[in-house]
């Protein structure tokens, strides 16, 4: 039996049986592997790191989209950096208030593969008339555009990937440009990995954002295919509006993880996570 073994952390690894190989190749930017696993369904792996599985992507996608979208009084214009799989896009487009979603993703090969192989997850979101795709680098787009957004969702790769394409998204320049692209009530959201295994990601994201934004909040979600329990989302804005509870109601179809109660609960961090940003000195970083 063929196995995919994720070696992102040398000391703790998960492996999944490759029950059917769907694609293995190299795009202009990264190694791409797509396979079927009996438990997780279709699995997308980029540069040997699990990105997305059919079975649990909804947890990530719902929490990345609905928490900020429902904490905003009228989100109309959304910028999605990364997210070429279309799953967060699908969730964002469920909101009646949303008029435009611009996706900036660098890797067209991955986008095309996901359009085909994750159709059950994104449900044709790529064909929505409110959607615009810009194939390119997130930082370059942020630097050059004059467009303004209510929400910027950074659905980039983890910081741990060797030579990963998303590293420019964790820079002061990118954060500064995000602050510039936001409308006054706007909000920025960045995923920041699994703090149990990689606390540096949360610490770095938090410190980068602190320089550009007055309000920063962290919330978590458990995505089983991401090793090491809950992952974090970091939320930044230049206003003091409370984001830790939904501000408005919207009839959202087919939700399996998000509820208004989950929204609030997700902001309650156990000390082992809260201490990463509150007591950085106490954090015994591992790798």
């Amino acid at each position: 039996m063929l196995h995919f073994r994720e070696e992102i952390y040398p000391y703790a690894q998960q492996s999944m049986t490759v029950d059917e190989l769907l694609y293995a190749g190299r795009s202009s930017y990264q190694d791409v592997l797509l396979f079927r696993n009996q438990f997780y369904g279709t699995v997308l792996v980029l540069d040997d790191v699990v990105q997305l599985t059919e079975r649990d992507e909804f947890i990530y996608s719902e929490m990345m989209a609905h928490v900020p979208l429902l904490a905003h009084s009228h989100p109309a214009d959304v910028l999605l950096i990364g997210g070429g799989d279309g799953c967060v896009l699908e969730e964002a487009l469920k909101h009646q208030t949303v008029e435009k979603v611009v996706m900036v993703d660098i890797d067209e090969t991955v986008i095309d593969l996901c359009r085909t192989h994750f159709a059950a997850c994104h449900n044709g979101a790529f064909d929505d008339p409110r959607f615009t795709l810009r194939v390119g680098d997130g930082l370059a787009y942020a630097r050059d555009t004059d467009e303004k957004f209510d929400l910027i969702l950074v659905d980039g790769p983890d910081q741990t990937g060797p030579g990963d394409a998303g590293s420019t998204l964790y820079t002061p320049e990118f954060c500064r440009n995000c602050a510039r692209m936001l409308k006054p009530e706007g909000m920025l959201l960045i995923q920041s990995d699994v703090p149990f295994h990689y606390p540096q990601s949360l610490a770095l994201t938090h410190s980068l954002l602190r320089d550009q934004f007055q309000t920063i909040r962290i919330y978590t979600a458990p995505v089983p295919a991401y090793l090491g329990a809950n992952m974090c989302f970091v939320y930044a804005a230049n206003h003091n509006l409370d984001v830790s509870a939904p501000l408005r109601e919207e009839r959202l179809s087919d939700l399996r993880y998000y509820t208004p109660a989950i929204h609030k609960a997700a902001f309650q961090l156990p000390p082992y996570i809260a201490d990463i940003v509150n007591k950085p000195a106490a954090q015994g970083a591992s790798k």
Binding site: Y11, Q14, T17, P224, A229, N230, R256, Y257, A261, Q268
Partner: protein, 279 residues
């Protein structure tokens, strides 16, 4: 890539495995009940496995033991007599004894080898509980320890292996009936209930059996990095309301001087919010 001999590997499902890099195998022993293994690992500290499943690692055992123990003990206004079934590593007893009102811990662990391994390899987990005068540990099955108890226990904590395999009787109605008999009127029962993603059917059956016996059932979740899916489910039950006012939980947490790695009053309430997929 390193060879497989350097890893402890758990088969979480037939299609998903979890491997931890190990420096040394410290113990491998077939006890009368199970295969007991202890490893020194690269990043998780020491690891104990039973029948090939990770039971605890030094690095994240606190999250599990705190969440099995404190939600139930904080829900009780003054827990004095606590009964532990299983939990031979001592971590649950350690957390119970953080509550100053506790006078006696009655404890049944079926497998003496687990207790011996804890004494030898996990001093920070058992943290002196075996020598504590309040602790009455007996090497007996949980059912036997409980057989003669009636209306005298404040909190029962079942810290067993999962609701699949040999521990199944601990998750069924006759055992729950015995628990209810052993508990005082406002007593609380709590147990771990496996991965909510991997053992959904088992959790549902536990829930059903509990509801047949107790008036109140409250499920909750916690993060557990070294366990399958990274999320763990727990459940508590009793005949009195289990939803405690926030001020009350906060007051008990402060008065009992709980300074912990995972459990806080905020987590107490947030952990009981169950997403639709797990309902």
């Amino acid at each position: 890539m390193a060879s497989d001999e350097m890893f402890f590997t758990e088969e979480q499902t037939p299609n998903v495995r979890f491997s931890v890099r190990v420096r040394e195998k410290l113990l491998a022993r077939q006890t009368p009940y199970q295969l007991l293994e202890v490893y020194e690992t690269e990043e998780f500290g020491k690891l104990m496995a039973l029948d090939g499943k990770v039971m605890l690692t030094e690095r994240d055992e606190l999250y599990y033991h705190e969440m099995l123990t404190h939600p139930a003990l904080a829900t009780h206004p003054a827990p004095r007599r606590v009964l532990i079934i299983g939990g031979g590593d001592g971590g649950t007893a350690r957390e119970v004894l953080r509550h100053p009102s506790v006078e006696e811990v009655i404890w049944g662990e079926i497998d003496e080898a687990v207790v011996e391994a804890a004494r030898e390899f996990f001093p920070t987990v058992c943290a002196g509980v075996f020598e504590d005068a309040r602790v009455k540990l007996r090497v007996l099955p949980g059912e036997t320890v409980m057989a003669n108890l009636t209306n005298e226990i404040d909190v029962i904590l079942v810290d067993s292996t999962d609701p699949i395999g040999p521990a199944v009787p601990l998750f069924e109605a006759p055992f729950f009936t015995a628990c209810r008999r052993a508990l005082r009127k406002n007593g609380i029962y709590a147990t771990q209930c496996g991965s909510p993603f991997y053992f959904r059917a088992e959790a549902q059956s536990v829930d059903r059996h509990l509801r047949a016996v107790f008036a109140e059932v409250r499920r909750y979740l916690g993060m557990m990095p070294s366990y399958p899916s990274g999320v763990w489910s727990y459940v508590m039950a009793g005949d009195e309301p289990l939803a405690t006012p926030r001020e009350e939980i906060e007051r008990r947490y402060a008065e009992r001087e709980l300074r912990l790695s995972y459990y806080t009053p905020d987590i107490h309430f947030a952990s009981a919010v169950i997403p639709p997929i797990l309902q």
